[in-house]
Symmetry: C2
Subunit: 325 residues, 2 copies
């Protein structure tokens, strides 16, 4: 089977198509013939050697896909060969075939295409667990989502709206500001022109209840400044820096909580639990069109470097998929 | 009435006894004729100008006392003139008389002396809310308490034992190590001789569920290292530094929560709620001698500088009180 190989990326600067052996599903796994896969930020880090795959995971990139079930392990319940599904993968989705735990698979909701379905699992699972569990976001609260136009941002805006929270976003262009506000963000702040802390406090003098951040670095200080009493900072990545300074006095005085998680480091059982919550609560909303995958652009298998380049240059508003014909 | 005045501390290096006008209780307040007050770390910081009193609070030091009710406001329920009580004060307890919200008062439990009762409110309220609410400590979990021999440490050890948690402490002498282990700490680590992270992992390879810390500074990194997956760092002071570096990757990977609070910044209603929980759950334990105030030493009103000096030189194992004859 063909895969997209990142092993020579450090020397060539390119992802290359190569041959690999077809993986074999274990008892609780199934083999998917991949029709589409989603591009995610961790893929960019992983190809650069900055985000090593967890122990036992495929060295091939790819955290989510859609496709047709080709083989099932002996312990698989509720899914059969020929089913069309989408799935969270433990790596390996940048390939014609991938194995995945059957409990991390979803039916394709609504009348979504393979490309649209492929981009659901990673961001919706990440946003669900970080907004509602680590972040404890509730109806009537407010949340600041950085990079509202990103794949994560689009999912976070829609999930926060679904629960009845008010959503603020940071963006870097007027076009992205309009995009986020159309998607359900009450107030998008263009941080190229405005100071996030000042702008936010104009509309929310007490601050917001939650900040969902993937930047870290110098932004962390501002994130804490933006939080109201009892506010939560939930970190899901740190594109601007891993080691950050925090003011303990600010944390104590406002009784803040600085927390976060990576979906990838969660156990199989935790991922199943999160997937089940999405199937119950969010898949019906996608069925009826209330929640969207926000697919921005599709690329061919041979265009994967262009797909990455789109994300690296932040040209996207929503998710990016690669389809396999 | 006489008070202990800290206004000239910065020039004289001494607390001085001076005269002040007797305060008048508002509707929901009562006037206490003070028999004893407790010494707390924030008093040391406040006299040095490092911890300003909140808006509206007395400029006089003192966060807790015991004594006899002398006058009551019109809205006071359940307490009458002549009652012997102890109380959390909003400042002002270093004085012959102090006013306090009646909802922050406690009966004197067991057969405690005024000095013993005076040292209960601040540390037990602080430890209750930070261990059980911010820290969510539960039966079967483990907690690392820094400075186990401090007033806070003694209360934390006993409350954690009460809830059924395993307690580890850091201390700086062998004498303090023995003291903490006698009080109910399973394992005290003398950090003058041993590395806290290594020693802790020898006994708790997965780390502890909670760290209660009043140091901050360079210790923060070690605190995060000591935590198990889903662990909580609860900060209640920062004697070693307010601005600390944290590793967002460590927080995300272990799904940690960095939080904390100051009792003083909590609202009147929050303080009442915490006081009520202590009255219900912990006062009966003190009545029957299962939980102790751990009073280490009493000083006279005129010896307040010696009392502070004891705390500043970390000579104490337990609480320090000043009595007024």
């Amino acid at each position: 089977m063909l895969i997209i190989c990142c092993e020579d990326f450090q020397s060539t600067g390119k992802l290359l198509i190569s041959e690999d052996i077809e993986p074999c599903p274990k008892d609780d796994e199934l083999l998917i013939s991949v029709k589409a896969f989603g591009i995610n930020r961790p893929d960019i880090l992983q190809k650069k050697g900055l985000y090593p795959a967890p122990k036992g995971a495929s060295k091939t990139l790819g955290l989510e896909c859609s496709g047709i079930v080709e083989k099932i392990g002996r312990g698989v319940i509720g899914i059969k060969e020929g089913d069309e599904i989408c799935a969270l993968t433990p790596g390996g989705a940048y390939a014609q075939k991938v194995v995945v735990n059957y409990q991390h698979c979803f039916r394709i909701p609504g009348s979504l295409s393979f490309a649209e379905a492929a981009v659901l699992p990673e961001v919706y699972m990440t946003c669900w667990v970080n907004l509602f569990e680590h972040g404890m976001l509730k109806k009537g609260e407010s949340v600041l989502v950085h990079g509202g136009n990103s794949g994560i941002g689009c999912a976070a805006i829609q999930l926060a709206n679904w629960v009845g929270a008010t959503v603020l976003c940071s963006v870097r262009t007027e076009e992205k500001k309009a995009f986020c506000e159309k998607l359900g963000c009450s107030y998008a702040i263009n941080i190229e022109n405005e100071d996030i802390v000042k702008s936010l406090h104009k509309n929310f003098p007490k601050g917001v209840n939650l900040v969902l951040d993937m930047m870290g670095g110098e932004l962390t200080k501002k994130n804490l400044n933006c939080l109201a009493k009892h506010g939560r900072l939930v970190q899901i990545a740190f594109l601007k820096g891993q080691f950050v300074e925090v003011n303990l006095m600010e944390i104590m005085k406002k009784q803040l909580c600085v927390t976060g998680s990576t979906l990838r480091s969660k156990t199989t059982i935790e991922k199943k639990r999160i997937a089940d919550l999405l199937k119950k609560n969010i898949w019906p909303e996608i069925d009826c069109g209330k929640i969207s995958p926000c697919l921005f652009k599709e690329f061919k298998f041979s265009e994967v470097n262009e797909a990455h380049s789109y994300m690296e240059n932040s040209l996207h508003m929503g998710k990016i998929a690669v389809t396999i014909s």
